[in-house]
């Protein structure tokens, strides 16, 4: 029987009552007394010299409080980049400034030029139309390969070129890799594009800045996945406000998908302007603004080559990737195509020699940074596509080729600098073959063909590195932050518990899943435990939620703090029962003296801690509250095998997903329902990337997909009912819960399966000239490929 509480149970998500009934408290729900509204006047050209911003007429418009331009930020820091990559020559990346409001030049459509603060939002917009701009338009650089050619216009005049860095990994292996290619029995080459995406969380970004002149305290309410990180970046590097005078609150957040990790200009502006004006300043992004100011994702152009020996063993892998940084370096942008991508190129396979080259390029487009999976989907996609192509070229079964090359011994040190602690790729593939009913495929293909449709089946594996991760390691790799997590477990006098976690929930369900862990440890009811997050005034310094790290890192911190609570509570219980604390056991919400029928209830112990009349005051302090910071010793490595079946309409090229199965190994599972939900959502986004989504600029840097009229989001009718399984469990060996993380897997593991399936469908109809189609596989693209 499934458990009904604690670890492994699937209680309904307690946060959903407020989310589904419209009672969430989102940033836009926050309205402060005396609030003003800001509208950002944004560049409508991709690249231009900003000769003059004349605000005189606008400043006189009704309701205008003040208009700010780049000049007002002359003495203020720019937006910092949180990761420094060192190039293949040992030189640091080129790191341009990133002003809050444009100074001297505009560098992408959407770059903010002026901020109009007014009594109402409409007045601010009216005034924006009265600002006179003198912008001398410059040629835009959009295409990455053109951007790094000699003589290309420079996005940043002060840099030597548009090349941010040219990264080689592992540079020392390059010669050996090249040698292995020379002696390979077969080489498969594939050039592909990992399409640029716009995250499109349901809630657009919002920021409300507030300033209390009597205490000199600033507060920023913002749509963030990591309020402490914003406090550090904005306080220390942009505005110079020390932590004790700066509070950052990220209340309910309606989806992040990575794009709400970063510190944005609008947050710094609202905080800054509130101090200047001594009034709250609010900004709510429109959806159109989101398209041109939220950091975008992916946008890699890659050539990958796989070398095999005569027995079809992988002998070497070589890649060259152009990664778009956009016009500025967003907070974690440099890390995505490098340490979150190159380190995953081994995938699930024993490829002894790997060399990854990444050229990060500045272009006149919106900055690009982490989006669900961040680097790992890009790695998985190219690897799993090239393996599929190799299988076709060699005439071998793509599953067999994968199985033959699986890593089977753990721990496994890859040639790309990471060590997988556990995994069982054979088990997940076996599970997949079963749940996807591979043996029934031939019959399903016949049935599709009888309807005039082509049917294809695609499989892929994935590995990801989650729970990002050891601070000392990421520090060596260029991170300018630690990546631990914190938790304070505050036990109240009557036994209820508040957990202040540094993890942030923006849809993941922490408020439900985290209490399950503590309930299990103490044997008390989950309803006694409340999760508090998203406010720097409430919890200890925390690093926030991304990289599927909340449970693996934040949950581990919570476990550590709870262990401290248990240790102390045992001492109190021992005192109350006049026993030795070594003999105390915790079970079902009681403290027992081992081997006796003596026990004392949890609530009696907690009450004693706060009403210490009968209490070992000479040994321990009153109260019951503990904090732990947890810094993991390694990443976690979830893995799995995915299968997609598609139908292709040969007349129109339209692809429909008929079946989708996912067998994942996430280590131990706390709440299976939530895990399934995360996988469903991730696959939905992966299908979105594979079939629908794609952010497109024209040659002049105009955003052609600036609204839902042209940017295709996946909808319920675009996805099938999924079959997901997470019963294959190899627990993580280095965190106390044995958990690995599940938030990104679906988005990482699904795009190659979809594309592999479409290629398979076309081949079934003799269209063997089609070896690849770039995502999104729109009907037009599939039709054009078939008829090329």
């Amino acid at each position: 029987m499934p458990k009904d509480h604690g670890i492994g149970a699937s209680p309904k998500r307690r946060e959903d009552l407020r989310f589904l009934t419209g009672n969430g408290n989102y940033t836009d729900d926050i309205n402060l007394y005396g609030q003003t509204y800001v509208h950002f006047l944004r560049s409508d050209v991709a690249h231009g010299r900003l000769n003059k911003v004349d605000t005189a007429a606008a400043a006189a418009m009704p309701g205008v409080v003040r208009i700010f331009t780049g000049a007002d930020f002359a003495g203020v820091g720019g937006l910092p980049c949180g990761w420094q990559v060192t190039d293949k020559h040992g030189q640091p990346m080129q790191e341009p400034g990133h002003p809050v409001l444009a100074q001297g030049k505009v560098r992408h459509v959407g770059d903010p030029i002026a901020a109009i603060v007014a009594e109402t939002y409409e007045q601010a917009r009216d005034a924006a139309e009265a600002i006179v701009l003198d912008i001398e338009e410059l040629p835009a650089v959009i295409d990455m390969k053109a951007a790094v050619k000699d003589g290309a216009p420079k996005v940043h005049d002060e840099l030597t070129s548009n090349l941010c860095y040219d990264w080689g990994f592992v540079e020392e292996n390059k010669a050996a890799v090249d040698e292995a290619f020379k002696s390979a029995a077969h080489v498969t080459t594939l050039e592909l594009v990992n399409n640029r995406l716009v995250a499109n969380p349901m809630e657009p970004r919002v920021a409300v800045g507030d300033y209390n002149r009597s205490t000199d305290e600033s507060t920023l309410y913002t749509t963030s996945q990591n309020p402490h990180v914003i406090r550090l970046l904005m306080g220390a590097f942009v505005l110079g406000i020390p932590e004790h005078k700066l509070r950052v609150v990220a209340p309910d957040v309606g989806g992040g998908f990575g794009t709400k990790i970063f510190h944005y200009a609008e947050e710094a502006f609202c905080t800054f302007a509130a101090r200047q004006l001594k009034r709250p300043v609010k900004w709510t992004s429109t959806r159109s603004e989101a398209f041109m100011s939220d950091a975008h994702g992916r946008d890699h152009v890659t050539k990958i080559e796989l070398a095999l020996d005569k027995d079809n063993n992988f002998t070497a892998l070589r890649t060259e990737t152009y990664a778009n940084m956009g016009a500025y370096l967003s907070t974690f942008a440099p890390s995505v195509p490098t340490w979150l991508h190159g380190t995953l190129m081994a995938g699930n396979y024993r490829t002894p020699l790997i060399y990854v080259n990444v050229k990060a390029v500045f272009t006149n487009t919106v900055p690009v940074d982490a989006y669900r999976g961040a680097g790992r989907p890009e790695a998985t996609y190219q690897l799993e596509r090239v393996i599929d192509k190799a299988a076709r070229e060699l005439g071998v079964d793509p599953i067999k080729l994968r199985r033959q090359n699986f890593i089977t011994q753990f721990p496994y040190a890859t040639p790309v600098a990471v060590e997988y602690d556990t995994g069982d790729y054979v088990a997940t593939m076996d599970k997949l073959e079963q749940i996807a009913d591979l043996s029934g495929f031939a019959a399903r293909r016949k049935a599709s063909e009888a309807k005039g449709k082509l049917r294809g089946l695609g499989v892929n594996c994935y590995i990801e590195a989650c729970g990002i991760a050891p601070s000392n390691l990421v520090g060596q790799l260029g991170a300018r932050a630690g990546l631990y997590e914190s938790a304070t477990v505050r036990v109240n006098a009557t036994g209820s518990i508040s957990v202040m976690t540094g993890s942030h929930s923006h849809g993941q369900g922490h408020e439900t899943a985290f209490p399950q862990v503590i309930a299990e440890m103490l044997g008390i009811d989950e309803s006694m435990i409340e999760i508090v997050h998203g406010d720097t005034a409430k919890g200890p310094m925390g690093m926030g939620t991304y990289g599927s790290r909340s449970l693996a890192v934040g949950g581990s911190a919570m476990v550590r703090a709870t262990e401290k609570i248990i240790n102390k509570a045992k001492k109190i219980a021992a005192h109350l029962m006049e026993a030795s604390d070594a003999d105390i056991e915790v079970k079902d919400g009681k403290f027992h003296v081992a081997g006796t029928d003596k026990s004392v209830a949890w609530g009696d112990v907690t009450l004693a801690a706060y009403v210490p009349h009968n209490y070992p005051l000479e040994d321990i302090e009153p109260g019951l509250e503990e904090t732990a910071f947890y810094d993991p010793s390694n990443f976690t490595y979830p893995s799995g095998a995915y299968c997609c079946e598609v139908e292709v309409d040969p007349d129109t090229g339209r692809v429909t997903i008929e079946r989708f199965s996912a067998a994942d190994d996430f280590g131990n599972i706390i709440n299976p329902m939530i895990v399934s939900g995360q996988v469903h959502g991730g696959i939905g986004q992966g299908i979105g990337q594979a079939l629908l989504e794609g952010c497109v600029y024209d040659d002049n840097g105009q955003l052609l997909t600036g609204s839902y009229m042209d940017y295709a989001m996946p909808r319920a009718s675009d996805v099938p009912f999924y079959t997901v399984d997470h019963s294959c469990v190899t627990p993580c060996t280095h965190n106390p819960l044995g958990v690995k993380g599940c938030g990104e897997a679906g988005a990482i593991g699904s795009p190659p399966a979809v594309v592999n399936a479409v290629i398979d469908a076309l081949h079934s109809a003799g269209k063997t000239h089609v070896t690849h189609i770039d995502m999104p596989l729109s009907p037009n693209r599939v039709w054009a490929a078939m008829n090329a």
């Binding site: 839902y708 009229m709 009907p779 039709w783």
Partner: protein
């Protein structure tokens, strides 16, 4: 959005009078006009809502057997109430946008706007409908005059649309993946005196009749009758979602499917 005045008259005469003012504009369901105003791309001084005019609402059959739809009737009402008289038309209405769009958006607004990717224009042209305004009756063949352009004069409002009911008909819409408007939509209607084929979404000239297909289908109302017929790619819309060649190809595919579905 800029400030504007708002009136909601209850008679056609009052609406026409209100629209006589400089800067006044008719408002149907607002599904096109309001987003445009929010983006500050339109700035009417006065909106004259047509949704309070009883005689512009609803679906009925006239004495001469036409299906008559009030100019301010929402798509959802057409989907429901035209279903038994003219299923192809009701089906078209039921696949416009989402429930919110269908409950607000009106047939008059759609035809007045004449978006090159909209569905209704193909039904009106494909049925040889009559667009009834406050001043005259306009044959569909004279009404559509290119993308976003119609025979309507300033201040003229569509009060009713009269559809001759065909023997057989079908609308086949191939959705643009993002907007779900028609990338190509084909409306085929078979009448006693011949077949009409109207194509939306495809042409730079807006909705058009495919006369070669009409001639072939008037001889034999079968998908095979269309074999070998193509529309030229030249003059088709080419954009992110479909090249000119792809749209031209889809016109053939969707027409065949419409005939197969209707036959």
């Amino acid at each position: 959005m800029y400030n504007f005045e708002f009136v909601r008259p209850t008679t056609i005469a009052d609406a026409v009078a209100a629209l006589g003012h400089e800067g006044a504009q008719a408002l149907g369901g607002g599904q096109t006009l309001l987003p445009t105003m929010k983006q500050r791309l339109a700035s009417p001084e006065k909106l004259v809502s047509l949704t309070g005019i009883a005689e512009m609402q609803g679906v009925c059959i006239s004495d001469d057997g036409h299906l008559c739809i009030g100019g301010a009737t929402p798509h959802a009402v057409v989907a429901r109430e035209a279903a038994k008289h003219y299923p192809a038309l009701a089906g078209l209405a039921s696949h416009i946008g989402d429930p919110a769009v269908r409950n607000r958006g009106t047939i008059g607004g759609s035809l007045a706007n004449n978006d090159p990717s909209a569905c209704y224009p193909s039904a009106a042209l494909g049925s040889g409908a009559v667009i009834v305004t406050n001043t005259r009756r306009i044959a569909a063949d004279d009404y559509f005059q290119g993308m976003f352009t119609t025979a309507l004069q300033d201040g003229e409002i569509i009060t009713e649309v009269r559809f001759p009911v065909p023997e057989k008909a079908s609308y086949q819409k191939f959705e643009q993946p993002a907007s779900r408007f028609a990338l190509v939509g084909v409306f085929v209607a078979k009448y006693a005196d011949g077949v009409r084929v109207a194509v939306t979404g495809a042409s730079e000239e807006g909705v058009f009749r495919w006369s070669e297909a009409e001639a072939a289908l008037s001889k034999s109302f079968t998908a095979d009758a269309l074999n070998g017929l193509t529309v030229p790619a030249d003059g088709m819309i080419g954009d992110l979602h479909g090249s000119k060649e792809y749209r031209a190809h889809l016109v053939g595919v969707m027409t065949k499917r419409a005939v197969a579905a209707a036959a």
